[in-house]
Symmetry: C2
Subunit: 460 residues, 2 copies
Amino acid sequence: MIIDVKELYNNIDKYMGKEITLQGWIRNHRKQKELGFIDFSDGTCFQHVQVVYDDQLDDFDSITKYHVGSAIEVHGLVIQSPKEGQAFEIQTQKILLLGDCPEDYPLQPKKHSREFLREQAYLRPRANLFQAAFRVRSVAAYSIHKYFQERGYVYFQAPLLTASDCEGAGEMFHVTSFDLAHVPMKDGEVDYSKDMFDCPSSLTVSGQLEAETFALAYKKTYTFGPTFRAENSNTRVHANEFWMIEPEIAFCDLAGDMEIMEDMLKYVVSYVLEHCKDEMEFFDKFIESGLIQKLEKLVHSRFTRITHREAIEILQKADVKWEFEPKQGEDIAKEHEKYITEYFDGPVFITDWPKDIKAFYMKENEDGQTVAAVDLEVPGAGEIMGGSQREDCYEKLVKRMDDLGMDKQELYWYINLRKFGSCVHSGFGLGFERLLIYITGIDNIRDVIPYPRTPGNCDF
Amino acid sequence: MIIDVKELYNNIDKYMGKEITLQGWIRNHRKQKELGFIDFSDGTCFQHVQVVYDDQLDDFDSITKYHVGSAIEVHGLVIQSPKEGQAFEIQTQKILLLGDCPEDYPLQPKKHSREFLREQAYLRPRANLFQAAFRVRSVAAYSIHKYFQERGYVYFQAPLLTASDCEGAGEMFHVTSFDLAHVPMKDGEVDYSKDMFDCPSSLTVSGQLEAETFALAYKKTYTFGPTFRAENSNTRVHANEFWMIEPEIAFCDLAGDMEIMEDMLKYVVSYVLEHCKDEMEFFDKFIESGLIQKLEKLVHSRFTRITHREAIEILQKADVKWEFEPKQGEDIAKEHEKYITEYFDGPVFITDWPKDIKAFYMKENEDGQTVAAVDLEVPGAGEIMGGSQREDCYEKLVKRMDDLGMDKQELYWYINLRKFGSCVHSGFGLGFERLLIYITGIDNIRDVIPYPRTPGNCDF
């Protein structure tokens, strides 16, 4: 019977003493005179299997020559392992070579730099760090769907191609069916009537505005899809293509929004801790010492809620030589985020931000100076999510857009949501890769995306 | 206590006779002299609630004037309804107007054409047909994740920006950070060294090739993400942006692939039938008569497996005047698909296709003429999924690419998978919207995508 290694680990009592067949790859291979040891993985779980064979096999000599990286089929008996801390091993009856691997295979069992592995991105999921990272990515993605679906949210797959350029969050990539060497022009301008959509089109930077149309029809909705920024930023946290989660909830104010943000984050972190134990232990041991403790503390804490005004007051009273002086009405720097989370020794929601540094769609507070916006700051990572109550008053939204010189015609449908049965509603955004960086401790966004797109890199 | 309508329907015994509060929208409003009836929905389930109020309320007169589309808060008692077939109704104690709606609200309670509703795409999820369609979309999407995750597949989020133009499936959209009116040129060619990725980039048409790199690391993987075609096709089944599911499984041949295809399709259909009962009954009644029966039949059938050669023989023997004569070595037309599914009275896998009409990566059979490819034909929809065993032999893949004049340098990593521990592996592709068309009976792809992108249309 051919089984997955995961199935074997999950039901070792059932298989102990039984004959089984495994199919997978040689990750390492040590040979002695009369014995051979294959470190075997089929990728279905983080743990490998020790496959032991001896010179009683007719083809012992050829088996000893099987290279690291080869695909093999192992027939053998599951037995107790004499090695301490190892639940079992496979006593080989037969090994078939399914696919050879040459000796110049790039992933030899030794330490490789992250930079080298990025160049070998198509092979790196076979290496422990990435095997773990991308499984956590998969499990975390599923837990997000599970969280929202079990609570009655409708999954909204936002359009990625958009004719709108006023979503207000940075540079957008242009999309066209034109041959770039021969863009048709008319009267000195691009003749978009010849392009696919008869108008300029771009890649979306956010699905939030469209998600609001779903919230006002389904009450609870969430997006989970790719978004794009044409920013030439070469940092550890920026990529040109990344995934966002954007829930949107009708009849929900800022306080309710924060409850959902806190609950969802704890759920996802708990789910990963429970379902990726081996991967998380690996990260804790080799990537970020204390990682699991950090995450468990988050799950069991009650997040603090303070206003931006209070945060600035705390920062101003602090006995710290700041690089950027904290000031009322201004943004909060990285060093400030760090201080605040240490001050409260846990995650902190900072609410009611100065309106001039926040987006046009955020609900204006009664003071006329601040908006019902919130950032969640977590220890060790700073801002991880941001949300707001949305401006639900037609007149106020229109005035705000006019003040900012925005094109109202293009967003007529968004504005109309405030005319046709408007209601209090709120939402938030979570960058999926930011979350993964926080959960895994891996400090570079290039290493939590299978095939990252960053300036100068669109490989594979 | 504020509750969702879904919660109310799911636990009606618990709430019967109790005071509750609901927040949602007026879908219809009938007034009599001393009584008013509000058809109320909060979007958390397909079913509406009948809200009854009488002239004992102080503000009876103003309530009678609340318009269709308005957001309201209803405080009332859950009581047995005198109306037959209605489990309960709300006896109103208080109604608050949260957000008014003018009388020129486009979604008045009458029959609207699909074309009109497409123009009102930001409002149409409030109309029954689309309320149902996009909830089914959400539930179906979740069931796909659930199916694969519970079976140990790793979710692979394929990159959408790609420098590769040889994925071999039609026209691609170009992506650039250039101002299209001023594309930098050098020696008569576009100077891509000035573009974001230092090279031409496009939107992906498939994540399959990259998914194979994950299959050879995790054994089982699947994509579920957007894909794009820059095709100027104005049909009922084509869109420029759509979602694909592309599973890929190592150590799995074509027979195993078909088992997974059949099992997954039955799972998803069953899941939607079970979790979207009201929506499916609506479709069965108003969109496609016999829909539920069609789907239940699929779930309980065993799919037939025949070769392309056998299919052509059956077609040639048929007493039918074909528009396209069926021929060995050639493709199968729509009329043929229909005949075959009727002939076997159920879904049919057609395998082993002529290699010249299939993609370069498909495994060549021993006859040298056919490849280990499969199309699944279902009654009433024709081809719904396609898959293949992949060519796992390095030399054969290289030869096939050479024969087709393909650029091997660009896909070096794909070819190398056949060098570094190659193994038998297979996969398939499912267009998510094609599946939704089949499940809902809605016959136009524009009506199963919230904001469809088709030639000339990139609105919202």
